[in-house]
């Protein structure tokens, strides 16, 4: 049986190799080399860096939120496990900084009230058209799932934020369009959003451009995958459980199968017989071949 399994795995491997050939042979397109940095959320045990997420929220609020919405996040998420983990009080205070339209009240009027934990993040513009009009015809995308909506994910966002450069001499740029190394087509309508010291961190972290880019990218990855930590934890436990289970199931399977058919000795005997016959009659009179 182990022989069968071995063969099976070998074949599987061969097919896998075959399937990679087209990709290795024809992938002559240039690979984008993103700016390299280490992400704490990557890997099987990946978790978010809490203080980076908190700083990231600050960057979002002070730098991005003027144009970009994060409409699928609620203020309560800020206090939930696996996220920035602000205290409930802090999250309440954050929510209360925003005016939320509610209603209609008993008089049939809509009214404004301070935000609550259950409210969704308040959007800078009431609709896509308004934000497009306000931004010179370019819609600043909602950032709720941005990290999942771009090839390259976190690396792409981080690189883009640091990828503003002088355009090459022969590169034509219209007014209000900027050159970015990592934007597909290299043209971007967003002006360089961050620079050294554009925010002041209360925890004393040095607000370099790289640090700011990293913090806000962390925040955006969490925003698009708020359950990432429990996903990783559950994943690890599940895989370990499965591996143990597989070992036991394999052993019971072997035990069950041993009830059936010939023993190893019987098989050996049969092999020997065949071997003898084959070697004996190779090259001899075929008529005796029986």
């Amino acid at each position: 049986m182990l022989v069968h399994l071995n063969k099976f795995i070998n074949r599987f491997f061969i097919i896998f190799l075959i399937s990679t050939i087209p990709f290795s042979v024809f992938s002559e397109e240039k690979k984008i080399n993103f700016v390299k940095t280490h992400w704490s959320f990557e890997g099987i045990f990946g978790t978010f860096d809490r203080s980076s997420l908190q700083r990231g929220y600050q960057v979002y609020k002070e730098v991005c939120a003027g144009c970009h919405s994060v409409q699928h996040l609620s203020y309560r998420n800020l206090a939930e496990k696996g996220g920035p983990e602000f205290s409930i009080e802090e999250a309440k205070a954050i929510a209360a900084q925003f005016e939320v339209e509610d209603g209609p009240n008993n008089d049939g009027e809509m009214f404004l009230r301070p935000g609550k934990l259950s409210d969704k993040f308040v959007k800078p513009y009431s609709n896509v058209q308004a934000s497009t009009a306000a931004n010179d015809g370019a819609y600043p995308p909602d950032m709720s799932v941005l990290a999942k909506a771009r090839a390259g994910g976190a690396n792409y966002i981080y690189s883009l934020l640091l990828g503003y450069e002088e355009a090459p001499a022969d590169f034509e740029l219209d007014d209000g369009v900027y050159y970015n190394k990592y934007m597909p087509g290299n043209k971007i309508k967003m002006s360089e959003p961050i620079s050294d010291g554009i925010v002041e961190y209360s925890d004393g972290t040095d607000a370099t451009k790289e640090q700011i880019a990293k913090d806000v990218t962390n925040f955006l990855v969490w925003a698009s995958e708020p359950h990432l930590e429990s996903q990783h934890r559950m994943g690890f436990k599940t895989i370990v459980y499965l591996i143990i289970l597989i070992i036991f199931v394999y052993m019971s399977k072997q035990k069950v199968w041993s009830r059936f058919g010939s023993t190893e000795e019987d098989k050996e005997e049969a092999f020997d017989k065949v071997e003898k016959v084959v070697t004996k009659y190779e090259g001899e009179d075929p008529n005796t071949f029986r």
Binding site: F26, H72, S144, A151, Q231, I239, V256, P286
Partner: protein, 428 residues
Amino acid sequence: MSETKYIPKSKLAQWFDSRLPLLTLSHHLKEYPTPKNLNYWWTFGGILTFCLITQIVTGLVLAMHYVAHVDHAFESIEHIMRNVNYGWLIRYVHANGASMFFLAVYIHIFRSLFYGSYKSPREVIWIIGLLIYILMMATAFMGYVLPWGQMSFWGATVITNLFSAIPLVGESITTWLWGGYSVANPTLNRFYSLHYLLPFLIFGLVVLHIWALHVPGNNNPVGIDVKKNSNETMPFHPYMVMKDIFALLLFITIFLWFVFFAPNVLGHPDNYIEANPLVTPAHIVPEWYLLPFYAILRAIPSKLGGVIFMFAAIFILMLLPWLDTCKVRSANFRPIYKKFFWILVFVVILLGYLGAKPPEGIYLTLSRLATAYYFIHFLILLPFLGRYEKTDPLPNSISDPVLDKPGMLDKFKKAAAKYEGENVSSFK
């Protein structure tokens, strides 16, 4: 089928079984004789059943939270991902489950091609299997539309537009499919309805597929008939059940690795951008499992021609039992077919790769060559091989000891080839 008639032990059970033979059925399933030499490629039937049930169960839960409306679909998916308890798990299992389902079905189909499982007397099993495969593609395609992301919308637009290539009635058919003049809310609603219905049709066909299988019994790696109820077969339970569970657990481990650690690698990032009829994505690509057919579609210079060839590529498989006239089933005894089988595997994977690339330059040339080869394989090579290929001598039975040891079979083939014409089919 077991030859002896099954009679339940207790009086009550006999009373019930004579009115509805459920106990006889379960006895049959338990005792169903399977060839003892089945290898691990044969475990994918059970794995596929698991995949179908997983998709139905997770789909049921998702349907409780999903809103099929163009204004709310994308948002409701995010609601599932964020606010529904373990919603992210259920959705990722469902989304990756579709990919795993297709991975397993492709292995299952190529297993059948290698070991000639579609040949007499198993043609009906094969055709029902293909119907299941076609329904699977339809279901997966409509399911991919439901999140209402950019690829959902534009994929739906491209695929439904194919029907407009039909002369005279094409435009009307497309309008009828859309329920309007473009892919819009009525389209999303009917896709949702059908996406919920089709899996149950698949389930029905799976029952027929297994029923049809249980009439002649399993094919096996040697490809010769086994003597039922001899020492060449073993009862399905517990032997095959244990083996299938073991293989299934290995499969589930790979499956869940994707779910927990790379849930989005098999999808397209653009589908996390809400559908926008005014913005066309740079490259519209279907999910990976449909790419080979997409490549064939685009390889043909005319739209109608592309559509015809794409559907022909699927339906040609229905004729396979009659295109492949060779009586020997297993490729292990067909040295030339075996080589062409691997070339076909390579060509199909190549087509899949080309389907993900823009249809221009070298990619287009290769797509055309690969498409041509795909049809040549089935329409020319197989009938030709059936006629002229010199197959290796077959062992007398699957318990022939020459089959038990690696290397022994080759010696047997060599010796047998030497004394061809003599009765050397077995070294008893």
